[in-house]
Symmetry: C2
Subunit: 805 residues, 2 copies
């Protein structure tokens, strides 16, 4: 084990702050602490101009105190360091309920009043700041879109460090100061994020400065990292690849000196390594980036004991330390004493504005962390130079004449996109080790996978600088991308469909962020969060049941209509069109589901563009209703269902040539919803025009059938709608067997048509066909068990274009 | 940094194996490697009795080779150690595509043929073993329920270590040998799981022996942990609290000696610490449990190069090293050479059974890892001694006369349950730091939170041994519980409703496990996975929007009907009844959603039991249809919606006393589905009896409205169904304002009744009431902005029982 003197040596009992700076930093900290406590308790009398009375205290005390004094301490010290070293810093807050600290500091520095002129930097503004915190119609207790300087929603813990790393990618000048709470540090996503330093490029990216804030407690428990030995903690952080600097204690003056020294040292180490990495003969090894371990009491500077129980330094300070200040006079007196302990009269002038002592070490303009433009990424957003998807499309003489791998075709498009935007360095691909296997590998012609750990001569496409980030953590991929988008750049996350569920809760939080930020005029639109879900449920031949789950889109369908978009392009050209559309869009969550296997190209590029613009349309070349009312509608959404529906049409044409069949393909899933429910929704008239109001509709769907029902239940024709989709039946098997297992194979769809088209089964040829289809099921079962592959007539099936007219 | 001699000292170049044991372990390993390669390639000629021909080779090569030789190596060595030290060991396999290794080893030891008599331990059996691997209708490539000895579905990476820790809880004699792949180690859940050692009790739990298998590569990339320095890795693992033992190399004899020494040392360290912890004067400090770092080439012993490319020791060995053995004669020759390199003639007798050399160091009976009873937990399952929920219920004179916190009442029940099952040590509570705040704290009267890190005098309810496990990682809570259940015990996971989404993908995999295992007669039923989702969407007063998401149940509704159950008890007594039912059930995923706030008790205990048995029923005491056909049905599911519907009824009674209203409450959500779709589903007749086929139904629902529509779209009355629920509108606000924001408040529900009951608005008093309701909305808005709390008439509202008849 390492020597504990290592730690002792990093502590600076006497530090770099001259008396005037010490006084100013302390004043800033006290002011922020005062404002934090004020937000939690007061609805009036913000400057304690008169003795504290019950009516000054909020009736419902919903704030949290415990984490904020530490956050305020870090903020004040970073302010000093920004000025001292002329830094460009944004502040990412991991700990939950850190909202009041950020409101306090951004109000002190003036950033808050600039976006909220109704909360000026004076006594009236302070009153409003206090009153609306954690109050109906007000602002939340966690950091959130409402907080200037934040790219982070602090309610669900675990994502701060990944966001911070995403933010500094391609921002070589930026430092993301990231406070990691010791509660949050127990989560899986945070635990995985420490290793993001194995991907960061010291030459072309900025730096993350993590501050692990060990205040020791969660809601009701100690934290793991505060209850292991110092040696273990040192080992762990070095094992994560950091060089820890310790700031430990509670006595303010000593702590100020320690913290100032720690930040000076961290900034120096960051700058030194960046200089070495950016010179003419750069070092290529990975840095041990600095990390600060700040060990303070929880609820530091708050009440030490309340009603005889220890509060400061325990979990009891997590929420509201003095519970009953409105009703209980002794509690109220203790609250007043606590507030006065910050000596507000030394901090605010007669108008309630922070005085020169407080603002002396606060930077100005865009150097203020609450006004850092990276934290309002939309203001920096530069549109991508998007190639025309049409020129990358596959030309097919007639529908289905040519096969292509949709994702491979997309890979060629992304290759060109990377070339065109190379200088802007504002687009990245993220994925869990699957870019190549998902057939997007053409991008490696023009870029590499960024990797700052060891590279061996046998490695391919690994480099210190590259546009692709791959790590086997969907959480980290998602967190990086979110951080990258929120700071004004663009990206795409390609993922196995089933494992997108791993980030369900992360996308929930991002959807909430978008919903709120869209309503804040000062937050400018950001690039959409784009998912490419591939290696999907129907083509997990070798991975089997564990990899078969199309339910991610069900979760997305619960999000607000203004942010959620789902696309199921049926072939390569439609995938291109959809992808280009998504990459140009703003403030959405776009989910694209597309396969990587070679499948027929149904539409030429210009047809594909038109089809995607319509979102859902009749495949006239596959329909036999000649514009009249059909006997039956065969609808499809998804690449595999589209093939199966067209194969169904082939069979029907051969055996029942008089049957009028219409084929409708849906690319943009929300077209199915009424226009009253979703901006992409169709009117009832349009819906009935496509699907009819009274004919049977057999719908072959990529995902769980219930999703189609929930989107269409208000439609006139819903009672006639029969949906086939994934029934949670799966195993390691052939592609066609998957369809048979889930009753969405062509033979079953023919049977569905026969059984659901009124009167059809009364015809002898229909009865014969039904028997033939049942025989085909038997033949399939026998064949697959004997040969381990699909029936030759299924494998070799092709759409016969000459039959179409 | 630590000295690298630390590592060198842990390597044993000369080791403990005498020549005969060395020979036997190597033979076992070669046999398993042969069987693994055979599974991937061969459909016939399993013993190479004739020259390898194209027809012997599978047409679709879907297996994966890379990880298996390492897994086989560990298996063979653990077999030796089990015999040498008389151990009780189960094998948890983290790496993906580890299936063939487990099939090979369990076939060699005879466990596989015992559960699959159609795959005997001879040449015919070997042929079948090979043929059905990763073959339609066969067995999967990942470890899965079909694999004897496995409690782990290996397809989605990240959960092995949490499962292993869950398995050894309360099994003091058990060692869970857990192989962690270096790919899997990059995931968040795995990264968090290392810290599970801060919770393990050396006195009363078993031990986990992790083997970190650094084979260096994922699908297409190197792994992070294989590309950091040895010093960093040592630091990291010590920082996680382990004492690493290194086994590094590729030369078999040397590696055998290293591995045997490493296992002997690990077993000794485990036993020594367990003895020290279990003696009369036990040590109380936490152990640095041993951990083995096995660094081998990926695809070890496989083809070194293929077509001029290096394969062994690179990512190219991940899947099928020789791609085209069926068509390409030189590939086929290389495959034959590879298979022959294991010298099968030295390993299998003329009948194809493994010979004495191979089986010499394989344990027998239940000592075989494929036959360890813990890995088929249903065989060990002892039912819980369940208290009668009725005796813990709250007696309420008439509906709503008494208030109770449902979870607090449940806490008292769980307290008694813990007492009754204390000796069995087979029930645990899991949660992310919320047991107390979710009001289940009465359990701390009789047990503690288990914690093996430092305990301070100020800590409450922390102890070395306790029935509650709390860590701020939903992943770890879920993984522990799954491991605990799969080894034959019982448990409950209480979680904030919104953050249950964090484990969406984990519950997906558990649902798949249950679906498969229910169809395997040798897998005995296990206790259900029980969730208590509390601190739910409607009562996140201080946490706000980030904590408001009721969508977990939407994901559960996509699971197979035979495993998914969702309950929304409206009060404390129904919660008790539902919880007791769930704790007695088997092989389900039960989701219970219930609030922690004080809310009215509507039903006496015996009424609650009857109501829950019915799952959905008329609240006759709240209805005014007197058994006749009502004018309107007010339906509700969830505690908050039930209150709101009853408040709506109060208003309607007062203002429109002639209106015949029926109140239907749904506890068991799947009652709404047709009986053809779910075993709990109602027949159409029963549904129409409750809800009518033609009257308007206003349904107030706890979650997203779409879920009710997808469950009921087949019902005759669906067109008349109007669902109110969560619309993704939220913020930090009061409980009633949340309802107003989402249009599910009583005033809105009254308006819904007025607008949707045919003819009603033609009556003057209805028009007056509608205006009054709109005024109440205005009054609410004004009041909340002025006072920050809800309208007094809403806050103080109570159901007036004397009005009910």
């Amino acid at each position: 084990m390492m020597n504990t003197t290592t730690q002792a040596a990093t502590r600076h009992r006497r530090g770099p702050l001259p008396a005037d700076q010490l006084e100013a930093v302390d004043a800033q900290w006290r002011a922020a602490n005062y404002l934090t406590a004020g937000q939690i308790y007061l609805m009036d009398n913000p400057l304690l101009a008169v003795p504290l009375d019950a009516e000054h205290i909020k009736p419902r005390l919903l704030g949290h105190w415990g984490t904020s004094p530490g956050l305020n301490f870090i903020y004040a010290h970073m302010n000093r360091a920004i000025i001292a070293h002329d830094l460009n810093v944004m502040y990412v807050i991991g700990p939950g309920h850190g909202g009041p600290a950020m409101f306090a500091n951004t109000w002190l520095e003036g950033s808050y009043s600039e976006i909220r002129p109704d909360v000026p930097r004076d006594g009236q503004g302070m009153r409003k700041l206090f009153q609306e915190f954690s109050f109906p119609g007000g602002v939340p207790s966690h950091v959130a879109p409402q907080v200037p300087g934040s790219i982070h929603e602090g309610g669900e813990l675990g994502y701060s460090l990944a966001h911070a790393y995403g933010a500094v990618l391609d921002n070589p000048d930026l430092i993301a100061l990231c406070v990691v709470g010791d509660g949050e540090a127990e989560t899986g996503p945070l635990a995985a994020s420490w290793h993001a330093n194995k991907f960061l490029s010291a030459a072309t990216d900025g730096a993350v400065l993590p501050v692990l804030h060990l205040n020791g407690y969660k809601i009701a428990n100690p934290t793991v990292l505060s209850r292991i030995t110092e040696e273990e903690l040192e080992s762990l952080l070095r094992g994560y690849g950091y060089s820890p600097i310790y700031v430990t204690g509670h006595e303010p003056e000593d702590m100020h000196q320690q913290m100032a020294a720690a930040l000076d040292r961290a900034v120096m180490e960051i700058r030194d390594f960046q200089v070495l990495s950016r010179c003419e003969d750069p070092v290529l090894h990975r840095a041990f980036w600095p990390l600060i371990v700040l060990r303070t009491p929880k609820g530091w500077t708050g009440p030490v004991t309340v009603d005889g129980y220890q509060v400061e330094g325990t979990w009891r300070s997590h929420q509201v330390p003095i519970a009953n200040a409105r009703e209980n006079p002794s509690h109220r007196a203790q609250l007043a004493q606590w507030l006065q302990s910050y000596r507000p009269e030394e901090l605010f002038d007669e108008n309630g504005a922070p005085n020169e002592l407080v603002t002396r070490l606060i930077p100005s303009g865009r150097k203020r962390m609450g006004s850092n433009p990276h934290a309002n990424g939309g203001t920096l957003l530069k549109p991508l130079a998007l190639p025309d998807p049409g020129t990358f499309g596959v030309v097919t003489g007639q529908p289905g004449a040519v096969d292509a791998s949709p994702t491979r075709v997309l890979g060629r498009y992304l290759r060109e996109l990377l070339i065109r935007n190379a200088d802007s360095r504002n687009f990245r691909l993220f994925g869990p080790d699957e870019t190549e296997s998902n057939k997007l590998g053409d991008v490696y012609d023009v870029t590499d996978k960024q990797w700052s750990a060891t590279i061996l001569p046998t490695d391919q496409h690994l480099a210190r600088d590259g546009r692709v980030l791959e790590v086997l953590s969907e959480h980290l991929c998602q967190g990086w991308l979110e951080g990258y988008l929120l700071t004004g750049r663009h990206g795409l996350f390609s993922c196995y469909e089933a494992f997108a569920h791993i980030v369900d809760s992360m996308v929930n939080q991002h959807a909430k962020w978008l919903k709120i930020s869209r309503r804040l005029p000062w937050r400018r639109p950001i690039a959409s969060l784009n998912y490419l879900l591939t290696s999907h449920v129907w083509r997990q031949d070798h991975n089997g049941f564990s990899h078969q789950d199309p339910g991610f889109i069900d979760n997305i369908a619960n999000k607000r209509a203004e942010v959620a978009r789902i696309y199921l392009p049926p072939d390569a050209n439609t995938l291109l069109s959809v992808a280009a559309h998504c990459l140009a869009s703003r403030d959405y969550i776009n989910v694209i589901v597309a396969g990587k296997n070679y499948t027929p190209v149904w539409l030429n590029p210009e047809q594909a563009a038109l089809h995607c613009a319509r979102g859902a349309d009749i495949f006239e070349w596959a329909s036999s209703d000649a514009g009249a009312v059909p006997d039956v509608v065969l609808a499809c959404a998804g690449d595999v269902p589209t093939i199966e529906v067209l194969a169904t049409v082939s069979i029907l044409r051969k055996h029942l040539p008089q049957l009028r069949v219409r084929v409708v393909n849906v690319v943009d899933l929300f077209r199915l919803q009424p226009d009253s429910q979703h901006p992409h929704g169709m009117s009832d008239v349009d819906y009935d025009t496509l699907f009819t109001a009274d004919r049977p509709v057999i719908f072959a769907f990529h995902g769980y059938p219930a999703l189609i029902h929930r989107l269409t239940y208000r439609r006139a024709g819903h009672a006639n709608l029969h949906v086939r989709g994934y029934l949670e039946e799966g195993t390691t098997t052939t592609p066609f067997d998957m369809l048979v297992l889930n009753k969405m194979d062509r033979f079953q769809l023919v049977i569905d048509v026969l059984e659901r088209t009124p009167g059809l089964l009364e015809r002898a040829e229909a009865q014969t066909l039904r028997e033939e289809m049942l025989r085909m099921h038997e033949r399939h079962h026998d064949w697959i068990r004997a040969h381990g592959e699909d029936l030759p007539e299924v494998r070799d099936w092709r759409w016969e274009g000459d039959q179409t007219r």
